[in-house]
């Protein structure tokens, strides 16, 4: 047992720690010293190292130590999935130009790191400190079509004038503007970058000073359309009307926009859930789209300043919902219950009958009593009014109606005697909201 312990100690002692630099998938052995990439003052460069045992045995998390100005560990070391190696990084971030070195200890084994900070022309925002490479330059929020201008400064710490290449990329960005080269020795040169987004959203680009790149970003937006409101003409409505609807803005809009207006009919009549006549007349639809041009203070519907909708022939309410990307507004128009409405009445005399034809609507769907009074040519009533209960006939008609409550009623009256003596007719119609008396109508 004692020999076995000595053998295990010997194997462990022979598993020597070896250090590599990893670049992509390439591992390069590191000897006693290693030079990290040359880095500009203010920038930083990370170098990835890998630890393996010389005999290929599994490793543990290495014990690391680093001493030296400008060098640091940016993160903890980590084992790979099968513990065959452990990786760690060393960051070189020189603050000033010059030569740097540090002692890196891995499991007690030392390696000297060398670094060189070459003096470069630096980029700084106007009035600010030089920016590390890769620093994102944010132009903030800029309205589409407008512009934002940012000033920058190139500082040349070198003892000779520097000709640098400055390029600006990205559709929203233009520059450099006003840059004069070379940048004098120990001096500065200023320039500007113009941001003028033509689309909305997060737009990106970059400004590059020689090989050092700095991302540019801007959030381009469209300003909101001024608050829209619905205008109906006439402002109050009844059944069987055509109402003009327009969309007005609180002020002239700086941007183009659009929205929709939706009609919803809420019936007040039991058993009549809807009225098909309630819709925009020109389109036959219950939704209409409107557009707003930049500079306009009102919307247009298919190029027209307003759109017309019908109120139908059913008591209830019409709810108008205006919707834009950031606004929803509603308005309601009450359609009150009315006595029967008569649109036309005509009477004709035949040999043995008088026919009375009436068109109209009953927005309560409750037509009940009808009464007819016939007159002679001198205006005297020929007989007492003829009354009829029309409730069942109208209920039957309304049940199958696809035109709301509008109706054409043909009433025929058999005549005994000389029909030519019948010269005119008056009628009244009754529903749950009242009685409508129709003016006397001549019979030609």
């Amino acid at each position: 047992m004692r020999y076995l312990a000595i053998l295990l100690w010997a194997i462990a002692a022979s598993a020597d720690t070896r250090l590599f630099v990893v670049n992509g998938t390439t591992e390069t052995p590191v000897a006693d010293a290693y030079g990290v990439p040359t880095t500009a003052p203010g920038d930083s460069t990370d170098t990835r190292f890998r630890v393996r045992n010389s005999d290929g045995s599994t490793v543990t998390v290495p014990t690391l130590a680093l001493s030296g100005f400008g060098f640091s560990f940016p993160s903890e070391p980590s084992l790979n999935s099968d513990a065959s190696a452990a990786d760690f990084r060393v960051r070189f971030a020189p603050a000033f130009a010059g030569s740097y070195s540090a002692n890196l200890s891995v499991n007690g084994k030392g390696t000297i790191l060398h670094g060189l900070a070459a003096p470069v022309v630096t980029l700084a925002p106007e009035g600010g400190a030089p920016l590390p490479t890769g620093t994102v330059i944010d132009f903030g929020n800029v309205q589409r079509g407008s512009q934002g201008l940012r000033g920058f400064r190139l500082d040349n710490p070198n003892p000779t004038a520097a000709n640098v290449t400055v390029t600006v990329s990205g559709a929203a960005f233009t520059g450099p503007i006003g840059l004069t080269l070379p940048v004098p020795a120990g001096g500065s040169a200023s320039f500007q970058i113009l941001c003028r987004p033509q689309t909305t959203g997060t737009l990106t680009g970059a400004v590059t000073v020689d090989q050092r790149s700095f991302p540019l970003t801007v959030l381009a937006f469209d300003p909101a359309m001024p608050a829209p409101s619905l205008v109906v003409d006439p402002p109050t409505a009844s059944s069987s009307q055509q109402v003009h609807l327009s969309v007005m803005l609180a002020s002239a809009s700086a941007v183009a926009g659009s929205g929709t207006v939706k009609l919803e009919f809420r019936s007040a009549v039991a058993g009549m859930a809807d009225d098909p006549a309630v819709r925009f007349v020109s389109t036959g639809s219950r939704v209409a789209s409107f557009q707003v041009k930049a500079g306009d203070s009102s919307g247009t519907f298919n190029g027209q300043p307003d759109i017309v909708f019908q109120t139908g022939t059913t008591a209830g309410s019409i709810v108008l919902t205006l919707q834009t990307t950031d606004t929803t507004k509603q308005a309601s128009i009450a359609i009150g219950a009315l006595p029967p409405a008569v649109a036309t009445i005509a009477a004709v005399r035949r040999v043995n009958d008088v026919d009375v034809t009436v068109t109209g609507y009953d927005n309560t769907y409750s037509m009940s009593q009808l009464s007819f009074t016939f007159y002679d040519a001198k205006g005297a009533a020929i007989q007492a009014p003829l009354a009829a209960d029309a409730r069942a006939a109208f209920q039957s008609y309304f049940r199958g109606s696809t035109t709301g409550s509008s109706f054409l009623m043909l009433a025929s009256f058999p005549v005994t005697g000389d029909a030519t003596k019948i010269a005119a007719v008056e009628m009244s119609l009754t529903n749950s909201s009242g009685v409508t008396n129709v003016q006397r109508t001549s019979i030609p």
């Binding site: 809807d274 068109t359 020929i382 696809t402 509008s406 009623m409 043909l410 009433a411 025929s412 058999p414």
Partner: protein, 257 residues
Amino acid sequence: MKAALVWGVTLSTLAFGEIRPPRVGLAVDAQANWRVIYGVAGNFVCGEAVRPGIAQAGFAGSLGYVVDQGAVVLLDGSGNEATRWTVQSANPRVALSSDGRAAIWDDLQLVLRQDGAWQPMAFDAAALGGDLIGLAVTADGVRFAVQRGDSRWIVATSGDVARIADGQGPVFLLDDGTAVAAVDSVSNDGGLVIRRADGKEERIATATAIASMAALGRGWLQLRDATGVSLGLAVETGRIYYLPDSCIVVQEGEEQE
């Protein structure tokens, strides 16, 4: 419920003939369908399409016509063909009367249909003294709307002549002697002049100029304005309404957007 005999005549309790949806007439919609329009003034509901692909049509209450494939086709109120007359021009002028007569002005020829037969009429087109822009069959014959220079005139077969309006634009003559002319003198935008049979005139402003007129139904004209909007003119009241133009016949309870 017979009432007492007072004047030698008695009316009995009414016998309902029928109750049905009121029909305003037939109109050509934006999709060129000749379509029934139901409802009452200010509340129109699309009905069935009677004929598709129609550019010119009219309906006079019981008789209608369409211009279809080189013929003027007369139809009854249900859209059934009654008769047809082959025409030479693409845009013949057609007039209907409420008593079932019809007139066609085609390629400078006048044809009348009355008593169930077509009758070409000897008529000297040069006597009109201008271009025919409208036609009516009236109780006393045929009347013409004529563009003479920069004014429009009504010319009767009897020889009577009356100026209806200045300028250019459509004129519609009704069989009762009423004339409707589109004018630009009522407002800056447009307007109509309605001249009744008794000579009285009404002037009605419109939002845009009226570009065409057609018979929609008894007492109704279909107008199209310069922007293509379909309007209905109730001739008796002189009121103008918007007509349904993109008809989607909606089933009861259906939410249509």
